[in-house]
């Protein structure tokens, strides 16, 4: 059966995509951020996972407010990154894995999560930036991906606990997939930030560091936070932390933290990077 070997977290902000395209790895503004990635690259080179299941949110590329699914799962052979309207370089296509997608969709619906399945789906920076940060250019030897898109754009959004439970269901689905492949799970976005309102620019280092600590060994306790409290403590868009809880749900009870990086600010955001290895 397929085996989940670990979870990664990464910021997915568009400015990172732009800096990546310009290779600003040594730029003083960007260096403390990009410095969080080489230890993860090393681990990936050793572990050689076959598949990345990516929790992200769409920011108005594939989904508009006319139809807003709470949970949407990609089931396409490939996913295109497209023009998002404000000048971020469009990167190529990402490789899908529809057989695993349908395994996940069939399994989680039977488990009580009525997701939206998508055989065509454009993926925006929320998906593209982290995949590039971890695996680089996807035109050669692309990693197979399954996008898990969670609504964080328009309320009501799923609760932190619901995302954690969906992650657990996806974890069960992957573990029942007849294959000997290795799977990593990505929790993208966050950490604390707020783009809109008079509180724009809000960042909460203390809260972020508590989340990075607690998600390792006490994720279920962390997932009990209400949407209200999460927005108050992490900002209106810091709500994206629910994507990390989805990732963590997939990993099961015991994980080992192999690497962590945290930096303020990237654009308007606190950026957190984690490498969690699933305990054997």
């Amino acid at each position: 059966m397929a085996r989940i070997i670990g979870g990664l977290t990464s910021s997915h902000i568009p400015a990172v995509g732009a800096a990546y395209a310009k290779k600003q790895f040594e730029d003083p503004y960007w260096k403390p951020f990009f410095a969080g990635y080489p230890p993860i690259h090393k681990w990936l080179a050793e572990q050689k996972p076959d598949v990345a299941v990516v929790f992200y949110n769409d920011h108005g590329l594939n989904f508009f407010l006319d139809k807003m699914p709470t949970f949407a799962i990609g089931a396409a052979f490939e996913y295109e990154n497209q023009d998002e309207g404000w000048g971020l370089p469009v990167v190529g296509k990402f490789k899908g894995y529809p057989e695993l997608s349908w395994q996940i969709i069939d399994s989680v619906v039977a488990d009580g999560f009525d997701v939206c399945s998508c055989q065509e789906m454009a993926v925006d920076h929320g998906f593209a930036v982290p995949v590039q940060l971890f695996w680089g250019d996807q035109t050669k030897n692309p990693i197979k991906t399954v996008p898990i898109c969670v609504n964080t754009v328009q309320h009501p959004v799923p609760t932190p606990m619901r995302c954690y439970r969906l992650g657990q269901a996806i974890g069960r689905a992957i573990s029942a997939f007849p294959s000997d492949e290795k799977v990593v799970i990505l929790g993208t976005g966050g950490m604390s930030h707020q783009l809109d309102g008079k509180r724009a620019g809000f960042i909460n280092k203390k809260f972020d560091l508590m989340c990075m600590e607690k998600i390792v060994d006490h994720p279920e306790e962390l997932a009990k936070i209400s949407t209200h409290e999460l927005i108050r403590e992490a900002g209106a868009q810091g709500l994206e932390f629910i994507l990390w809880l989805g990732m963590r749900g997939c990993l099961g009870d015991r994980v080992k933290r192999l690497h962590q990086n945290y930096h303020i600010p990237i654009s308007n955001t606190a950026a957190g990077t984690l490498l969690l290895e699933k305990a054997a």
Binding site: L65, D83, R199, I203, I231
Partner: protein
């Protein structure tokens, strides 16, 4: 009783973008969503008034677009993720939008972001 998103309204300076906002802002957001396409951006640049009318923006929304002001655009029901596409046409970054909403200069806003890492 289930919690409504408006129970979240007590977080100062924070917009909870729920159904109430979505109903008000729909034409504005729909116009912004169209800006994913280069030809739509070009059409807007060429004649913003005609483009806004085509998408049935109300007077408040049109005025907010003309003012290029994030606070007014959000008050008119705009969702920040879609407004970002309009801001891109105007050459405004998220730091520019933050400065507008907080009443700071852009440099002061950037400095405030940085200081929160200390």
């Amino acid at each position: 009783m289930s919690m409504s998103a408006h129970d979240l309204d007590d977080i100062p300076g924070t917009v909870i973008y729920d159904g109430r906002e979505a109903m008000r802002g729909y034409p504005l957001n729909k116009m912004c969503y169209s800006f994913n396409r280069a030809d739509a951006r070009e059409e807007f640049r060429h004649d913003p008034e005609a483009y806004m009318t085509k998408f049935k923006l109300n007077d408040q929304q049109k005025a907010a677009v003309r003012a290029r002001n994030a606070t007014k655009l959000i008050e008119a029901g705009g969702n920040i993720y879609y407004l970002a596409k309009l801001a891109g046409i105007f050459g405004l970054s998220v730091q520019d939008l933050g400065a507008q909403q907080t009443g700071m200069t852009v440099d002061a806003f950037k400095d405030m972001l940085k200081k929160q890492g200390d």
